[in-house]
């Protein structure tokens, strides 16, 4: 089973890297970019065939390691 965990910065947390990317997009001539926030995507293959169980397990992985919940949110999706 394939899953995707997306980790994003919480609202209000400053993102200097996102800001730099935002500036670079502007410099490349892309007008109309409101703001950029940088995050992380983890594609994870798990052996489980039980989607609900796998999701619980992946949420634990995200909470314990993949995200720092002081500053980040996470979202778990079962892809197939």
């Amino acid at each position: 089973m394939k899953a995707r965990v997306t980790v994003t910065l919480k609202n209000g947390v400053l993102d200097p890297q996102g800001k730099a990317i935002e500036g670079a997009l502007g410099a490349l001539g892309f007008a109309g970019v409101g703001s950029v926030r940088q995050g992380k995507v983890f594609d994870i293959e798990v052996e489980s065939t039980d989607a609900a169980k796998a999701k619980t397990e992946l949420e634990a992985m995200a909470a314990k390691l993949l995200a720092n919940t002081v500053i980040e949110n996470y979202r778990v999706e079962i892809v197939d």
């Binding site: 947390v13 400053l14 200097p16 890297q17 390691l65 993949l66 720092n68 002081v70 500053i71």
Partner: protein, 220 residues
Amino acid sequence: MKSAVVVFPGSNRERDMVAAIEKITGHRPVTVWHGDHDLPKVDLIVIPGGFSYGDYLRSGAIAAREPIMGAIAREAERGVAVLGVCNGFQILCEAGLLPGVLMRNAGLKFICKEVELRVETTASQFTRGYAKGQVIRSPVAHGDGNYRTDDETLARLKGEDRIAFRYVANPNGSVDDIAGVLSEKRNILGMMPHPENLIEPLNGGTDGRPLFEAALSAVA
């Protein structure tokens, strides 16, 4: 007085730390490998600077979940002094032993220079060798030194007098100019600057020395 310096793959300031402690106390610290599950009985545990696990995922994130960290948490709970410098501070935050998180420097550049720190509290075994408000010099060398907490935590840190050091001129965007914080029981200190690199005249100064003298004599 016994101390231990914990080494992770990618630590690179452990030898400076060992040399500083040995020069100040005359006793060589034990070095402990990250995969160990137990610590020898010591009075001070130090997590040195470096780039544990190449800063993969987040600075300090992988190291914070290593077996040795369970032992450090247990010893800290017993009241043993724990000092985390630079990557050591990042690891302590990631492990939840200190509040907050260290994010990328606001200016996005790695900063390697000397800064001035103001000693904000003398009520800890690390800072009691200084005067409150004293300004000391200390080198910094980090890319992720931008300390952040939520407002509630920041208010608690201030209210409980747990901000150990502030930057005189904030180099990295840290909230409230914070350079170092203490744990609730005041026996854990995390700081981005490197006091171990300013302990003898040959280093160009001795401003870091009182920190180690105080921390080490508290338990002598």
